[in-house]
């Protein structure tokens, strides 16, 4: 469903964010990308979303070359990014153009448990409710691909677990392909079929862990702990491999970070 082949992205500042990324996500698969901050995981998500274009390599979604944002790809950002002047209902219907809105909006709101808050304004919502509205907005068009960029990282632990459950319910609803960027190992292991460990500078795929645990997953389970240990080890290795975390802005990358392509 999603295919990245030898993708590199260099920003206008000269910073090489990701390099040589090969990654495939199957239809209806949930893939989580974990890695230290600044390793380019969000950059990869933005390339799939069509918000940025790669410097080299190819990005394909549903067999088509990504040239820009598309209706078949929904995005949930780290912040809710709701239009503060629109009610919850009208925020959710934001992506619907001139079609029947009432039905899909009601369905999407029900999926995230916000049917009673259709008329509320964003300023009246808690952080978790605002993020659920953002998820409903991404879902309303039922995009076959759903991209989530650290969607729960600014929420408290209870709300986060709650929303993770909601997300799995959403997946069960129409089984979209999900690509989730997170820095929370547990979140990745609870949600994903496969965890991709990102690391290095520039970022690239360091390891892949297939999580073959049945759902719902128990965070206190021994088998779950085994996966946690494995993910920690892979992450530790990828952080040690990173040469120099800090580079003065605007300087071209030094020899250890040269673009191989």
């Amino acid at each position: 469903m999603i295919r990245l082949s030898v993708v590199s992205k260099r920003f206008a500042t000269g910073l090489l964010a990701v390099s040589g990324v090969d990654l495939t996500v199957e239809a209806s698969e949930i893939v989580a990308v974990i890695g230290p901050s600044g390793c380019g995981k969000s950059t990869v998500l933005r390339l799939i979303a069509g918000l940025d274009s790669p410097t080299s390599g190819g990005v394909h979604v549903a067999g088509r070359h990504v040239e820009g944002p598309s209706r078949s790809v929904g995005v949930v950002f780290q912040e809710p990014r709701l239009m503060p002047w629109l009610s919850v209902e009208r925020n959710v219907s934001f992506g619907l153009h001139g079609e029947e809105t009432a039905g899909p909006v009601a369905e999407a709101l029900a999926r995230v448990g916000l049917e009673d808050f259709a008329d509320a304004l964003p300023k009246e919502l808690s952080g978790g409710m605002a993020q659920r509205t953002a998820i409903a907005r991404a879902l309303v068009t039922k995009p076959p691909v759903l991209l989530l960029d650290e969607p729960f990282s600014s929420l408290d632990a209870f709300t986060r677990i709650d929303l993770q459950e909601h997300l799995l319910e959403v997946w069960g609803w129409y089984r979209p392909t999900m690509f989730l960027v997170t820095h929370d190992i547990d979140e990745a292991l609870v949600l994903a079929d496969r965890v991709v460990v990102f690391g290095g500078q520039p970022g690239t795929v360091e390891a892949e862990i297939t999580v073959d645990l049945p759902r719902p997953r128990d965070r206190t389970d021994l088998a779950f702990h085994a996966f946690q240990d494995r993910a920690m080890k892979e992450l530790g290795r990828s952080s040690r491999d990173r040469p120099d975390r800090v580079r003065p802005p605007g300087r071209p990358p030094g020899p250890p970070t040269r673009d191989p392509g």
């Binding site: 979303a49 918000l51 820009g68 944002p69 598309s70 209706r71 929904g74 995005v75 950002f77 912040e79 990014r81 239009m83 503060p84 002047w85 629109l86 934001f94 992506g95 448990g113 916000l114 009673d116 808050f117 509320a120 304004l121 964003p122 300023k123 009246e124 808690s126 409710m129 209870f158 709300t159 677990i161 709650d162 459950e165 909601h166």
Partner: protein
């Protein structure tokens, strides 16, 4: 916590700012507090005039001013003057605000138009607009056209500057949501950029209106036969300070009323803002 809640109870919602503004303990409405200082000042002034402490020849007592206003109102002259001044401000405001809105929106949205127009407009802005008066009179004559264009020029700059700046500072992340949903440039302006800049734009409109009232005085000083500005000049030339102060009072009333009207209609459109609202003093 024994279970994770999916729906927060209603009472956790922000109650909003719909409660009437009241002074917490005594329950005095805020507008009453606002009246204390002017009422006391007018009372002291009146008392001072009657006691002979203030020279009423130069500084008429509040009662004299009230008499003057009542006299003007009785023969209906007052309303004619107020009407012609208000009409000038209104027409000038509409013209200036329209041109300011169009140019502000275009330069705010398009970097190319910004590069094209903004340097010139910024340079022109530094000329005190009243300096254009003699030229305007030469070009458009002494009658209504030059007056209205003076006012429009005064209104134009704050509207242009605030709208252009407000669009430029709309949250990039909201604009990105528009990109995700494939909004075309016109839809982006209508559905994200304009609503997001609306609160700042309204401040620009209010500033523009304030300048409109300022410029109407300048315009009416220069050869008008009607209007509150004409009354000011008339009062000076005929040595009637009460008439001058009466005109000033009417300017204050009209300016305040029009500003409240604009602010009130604006607030109805921008109630979604989650900004800082100072609480009434305790």
């Amino acid at each position: 916590m024994t279970q994770t809640t999916t729906v927060e109870p209603r009472d956790q919602l922000d109650p909003g700012a719909s409660a009437p503004e009241r002074n917490g303990k005594s329950g005095t409405p805020r507008w009453v507090l606002g009246l204390i200082v002017p009422v006391v000042a007018v009372a002291l002034w009146e008392a001072g005039a009657r006691a002979g402490l203030v020279s009423t020849r130069l500084m008429p007592a509040p009662s004299d001013i009230a008499d003057t206003l009542a006299g003007l109102a009785a023969d209906g002259v007052l309303f004619e003057h107020m009407g012609s001044t208000t009409a000038r401000v209104l027409v000038g405001f509409v013209i200036g605000a329209t041109v300011g809105t169009v140019l502000g929106a275009v330069t705010g949205v398009s970097p190319r138009f910004r590069a094209l127009f903004d340097p010139t407009l910024q340079a022109l802005r530094n000329i005190p607009s009243i300096a254009w008066t003699p030229l305007f009179i030469l070009w458009f004559g002494i009658f209504e056209t030059s007056k209205i264009l003076m006012i429009a020029l005064g209104v134009f700059f704050p509207v242009y500057l605030t709208l252009s700046g407000a669009i430029g500072s709309v949250d990039r992340r909201l604009v990105e949501v528009g990109r995700v949903y494939g909004l075309r440039p016109t839809a982006l302006v209508g559905r994200i950029l304009f609503p997001a800049s609306l609160p700042t734009y309204l401040i620009g409109l209010r500033n523009g209106l304030g300048l409109g009232w300022m410029f109407v005085v300048a315009a009416e000083f220069l050869g008008a036969s009607q209007g509150l500005g004409y009354l000011l000049v008339d009062g000076q030339q005929t040595g009637r300070p009460a008439l001058i102060v009466a005109s000033i009072v009417m300017f204050a009333v009209l300016g305040k009323l029009s500003d409240r009207l604009l602010a009130w209609s604006g607030n109805r459109l921008t109630g979604w803002q989650d900004g800082f609202t100072p609480k009434a003093p305790a």
